[in-house]
């Protein structure tokens, strides 16, 4: 199956850099420690909307570990780079689905990330501040899987911007910022000011941060999982529609 081959090639490429990634994991863990320290300093002994220092420690380690599956991906899934070099023309000519091909490549990188980024970081956190196991394994894993898929779609859409502009980095930066602010990566939505909670509830970015984290911690359930699944379906349709438009628009910059 061609998608499996594409994914496997991505894993092999990533494996070349596994020691460098371990150093990156340490840096990434420092981000987690900083947020945990900030939350402990902010909350002290108090509790707000069911959020206290112990909960935020668990929230931050889970969120930080799964960022590597749901948010940190190749810039535009490699589409902008393909536009620059012209290789995207060859990919469009292949008798396989364009979205499927890029998604499969990234899925390979994510599978690698699960083993060489998420797992070592979870172990590092488990040895220092603790890493919680999911309240329910099937729900927890489904939340993370849907988060990864929604993140993949969002990154794909940002990458598709390269078909219309050499400035796909805008779209990518916008997605990154919105995921950080609206996704609940560092702040659980319950703590947001009221008006912002409404925006968060109706944004897809929540599926990449707050939903998988809260489900993992047993603070959210099937309802939020269904919301994430809804976004996954909607974004898939959007990605397919825009791929069709991009195919008619293609104009490579070099090659």
């Amino acid at each position: 199956m061609v998608y499996v081959l594409a994914a496997r090639a991505a894993v092999r490429r990533e494996l070349q850099y596994r020691w460098a990634h371990m150093v990156n994991n340490l840096g990434s863990a420092v981000f987690g420690f900083v947020y945990i320290a900030a939350w402990r300093a902010v909350l002290g002994r108090q509790s707000l909307s069911g959020v206290d220092a112990a909960f935020m420690t668990r929230y931050m380690v889970v969120s930080q570990v799964f960022l590597w599956l749901t948010t940190f991906m190749t810039f535009g899934l490699g589409i902008p780079e393909g536009m620059r070099t012209g290789s995207v023309a060859a990919d469009l000519a292949r008798p396989v689905d364009f979205f499927g091909l890029y998604a499969a490549r990234e899925a390979g990188a994510l599978a690698y990330g699960l083993l060489y980024r998420c797992l070592p970081m979870a172990v590092l956190f488990a040895l220092t501040v603790g890493f919680p196991l999911p309240g329910s394994w099937p729900l927890g894993l489904a939340g993370v899987a849907l988060g990864a898929y929604v993140g993949l779609c969002l990154n794909y859409l940002a990458g598709l911007a390269a078909f219309w502009t050499v400035q796909a980095r805008w779209a990518w930066g916008l997605r990154q910022t919105l995921t950080l602010v609206l996704g609940g990566i560092a702040v659980p939505p319950a703590v947001y000011p009221g008006w912002l909670q409404g925006v968060v509830a109706w944004s897809p970015f929540r599926a990449c941060g707050a939903i998988p984290t809260l489900i993992w911690l047993g603070r959210a359930g099937a309802g939020d999982l269904a919301a994430a699944a809804g976004w996954a379906a909607a974004l898939t349709l959007l990605a397919r529609a825009l791929t069709g438009a991009a195919r008619r628009r293609v104009e490579v910059q070099g090659g």
């Binding site: 300093a41 902010v42 805008w170 930066g173 602010v181 947001y192």
Partner: protein, 257 residues
């Protein structure tokens, strides 16, 4: 000096060819900083203080850290990607020039596209200073901290890039030596565990960028001496970074490609 000016002018002329790209980069670099500050603001809408620091006071920390990081990124677009020179053997061409290689790398890498983050960093610092009603001398101190802080981050950046002479790949190391520390500098250092505080006072001297001098300026610990501490800290860090660079340069053997 005139060589440096000519090199920088050449770099900027090259970038001007891409007008829209330029505006885009400025907006993008501002966007990323805005997102990070947004998180701090959201936290402080529900909680008045972090470790005793109010939002305007935190804005000084955040703004100075963002300013220093943005200055580094504005000056070092090429140096930041130095691993490319190692991996592809492009450093050979730099060595052929009759000027110090570090200077050439810096002149090549001036990228005004990162000015968005810089303006925003300065803006957030100024907002904090205005809200706190700082005296003109206070603004003067903040200006000094911006300069010394930028020099410190530049030193950390040069040292990190210099390790490429031994390690070749440094992209991932930069997360540990640059991104994570400059993020950590957005909060008061007192919230961190001892080992992290020790790290930020020594090998990655990010505490001198903003926390120590600003804390002294706000009267929370230390006096004029502490406020002047970033000056020698920056001088020493830059010297050590330059020494590490020349040690690495002597060791350089090109790639086979």
């Amino acid at each position: 000096m005139s060589v440096l000016v000519r090199l920088v002018a050449g770099t900027l002329r090259g970038q001007r060819q891409y007008g829209v790209d330029f505006v885009g980069s400025i907006v993008l670099s501002a966007l990323v900083t805005a997102g990070e500050f947004g998180v701090v603001v959201i936290i402080l809408t529900r909680f008045p203080r972090i470790a005793g620091w109010s939002l305007p006071q935190l804005a000084l920390l955040f703004g100075l850290s963002a300013t220093a990081t943005s200055v580094y990124r504005t000056l070092t677009d090429e140096l930041h990607d130095f691993e490319r020179y190692m991996v592809n053997g492009e450093f050979d061409a730099i060595l052929l020039r009759p000027w110090p290689s570090l200077l050439v790398m810096l002149a090549r890498g001036v990228n005004l596209g990162k000015l968005g983050g810089l303006l925003e960093g300065l803006g957030i610092t100024a907002w904090g200073a205005a809200r706190l009603g700082l005296a003109p001398s206070g603004w003067g101190w903040l200006l000094l901290f911006s300069v010394t802080g930028s020099a410190l981050v530049l030193a950390i950046g040069i040292a990190t890039s210099a390790t490429a002479f031994w390690l070749e790949r440094i992209g991932e190391l930069q997360v540990f030596t640059l991104y994570a520390p400059s993020f950590a500098a957005e909060f008061p250092q007192s919230i961190y565990a001892g080992w992290l505080r020790a790290l930020f006072l020594s090998a990655i001297p990010i505490a001198f960028v903003n926390y120590l001098p600003v804390r002294a300026m706000l009267g929370h610990g230390g006096g004029i001496a502490t406020m002047l501490l970033p000056v020698p800290a920056a001088a020493i860090s830059l010297t050590l970074a330059a020494l590490l660079w020349s040690a690495g340069e002597r060791r350089y053997r090109s790639t086979g490609s």
